[in-house]
Symmetry: C2
Subunit: 208 residues, 2 copies
DNA sequence: GCGCGAACTGGAACGTGTTCTTCCTCGGCC
DNA sequence: GGCCGAGGAAGAACACGTTCCAGTTCGCGC
């Protein structure tokens, strides 16, 4: 278990080496693509390591060299999705909405749209996120940081209020977001209810 | 006890029959005891179905008759723990604390004390809770309801504020609680940080 | 007592995540 | 050209959740 790599990989694995050759970078991407494809089709259970390996055209052992477990694999895929979303928001310039609550709501709605578009993908990624253990901490932290950044930026133009609150609020919103996803995955609430709960929480926390 | 269940099993399985005979009730309890014991010793991974069956002195098939999956088993154990905690709070009379935030904080601290006392047990139960799927909805709902009740009662004497908020706030606190536990299980935050995050969120939500 | 059906036992069997072993391929170096 | 070691291929093997089956026991109505 030689973790603590000197230079942390951005979204990816954490094995020994850090993807030097182009061929490796391409394999890495192919694996993540296969993962997302399978997840989109059949959810968490359909992301079977043998199937991913086959679809990505690598051997099972190679898959495990790049991603030391199924959870690592899926959380890495989640991180990549978040990076794309983050880039999308940044490229957008200003987030629409007059108040912080509006803007955060907009971002959440946007991010949660996948509940309708790709329910199985969301299910797979959520499941992976919550079944991570300490060995996935690095990948988890990437996701956490990205989400915090997205939320903090969305609420950014903030009226007179202690700035220390911002991080705490972003964190709580992130927590509610996770819990809402879990409730949805667990079949306790529909997509609409999930979205509604999120809105409520945002308004509760960002009332001015 | 006291779960207002007409026909639904209170905390337990959901198989066909509802535990009629004393022998069955005793088996049921024995299985849950074995589960908690194993969880306390070795966490989620140590709760292996064969081991539970052996320790509870039932056959594997019998175990599966009572609890159709490992997750059902652990969430049922969680529900039983919550029932005990709930009964404890009710027997206590008034919750200590001057403000709603104080009282909720007190309850959370009390409930979270297990993080130090029985970290592996908490880990096992948390893991199970978040890896539940729709088939465990009944057991999950028991836990959800108990927690909501505990929180709502703790914040009960509440100053002028729309009462509709109470449920929403309790829900958000429950969400943060879950997310904090997940963060702790994932190795992202220590027990102390987990507790601190909870306090912060409670104060954020219950400022008057 | 007797017979019956439900519940229980013991254990084999299967699927999927994970590990391991053996052999092969490729790009750099003499 | 020929060697070499790292990374990859192929697939067997193992662990644990889950399912299934054949036989046994238990409690109950007769």
């Amino acid at each position: 278990m030689t973790t603590t790599s000197s230079t942390a990989p951005s979204t990816g694995s954490l094995s020994a080496a850090d993807l030097d050759s182009p061929a490796q970078r391409e394999r890495h991407a192919r694996i993540l693509d296969a993962t997302v494809t399978l997840a989109r089709e059949g959810g968490f259970d359909a992301v079977q390591m043998r199937a991913v390996a086959e679809r990505a055209d690598v051997a099972l052992g190679t898959l495990y060299r790049y991603f030391p477990s199924k959870v690592h694999l899926l959380v890495s895929a989640l991180a990549r999705e978040f990076e794309r979303a983050d880039a999308g928001f940044r490229g957008l310039g200003a987030i629409p909405g007059a108040t912080p609550a509006d803007r955060v709501g907009w971002v959440m709605r946007r991010t949660t749209r996948g509940l309708h578009d790709d329910p199985r993908l969301i299910e797979a990624l959520t499941r992976a996120f919550v079944s991570a253990d300490a060995s996935v901490a690095a990948e988890i932290r990437v996701v956490e940081t990205l989400l915090a950044g997205i939320l903090t930026r969305a609420m950014q133009p903030r009226s007179p209020r202690s700035p220390a609150d911002d991080d705490a609020i972003a964190r709580v919103i992130g927590d509610v977001w996770l819990a809402a996803l879990v409730a949805w995955v667990t079949g306790r609430s529909s997509a609409a209810e999930t979205a509604a709960h999120l809105e409520t929480a945002v308004q509760l926390l960002l009332r001015e």
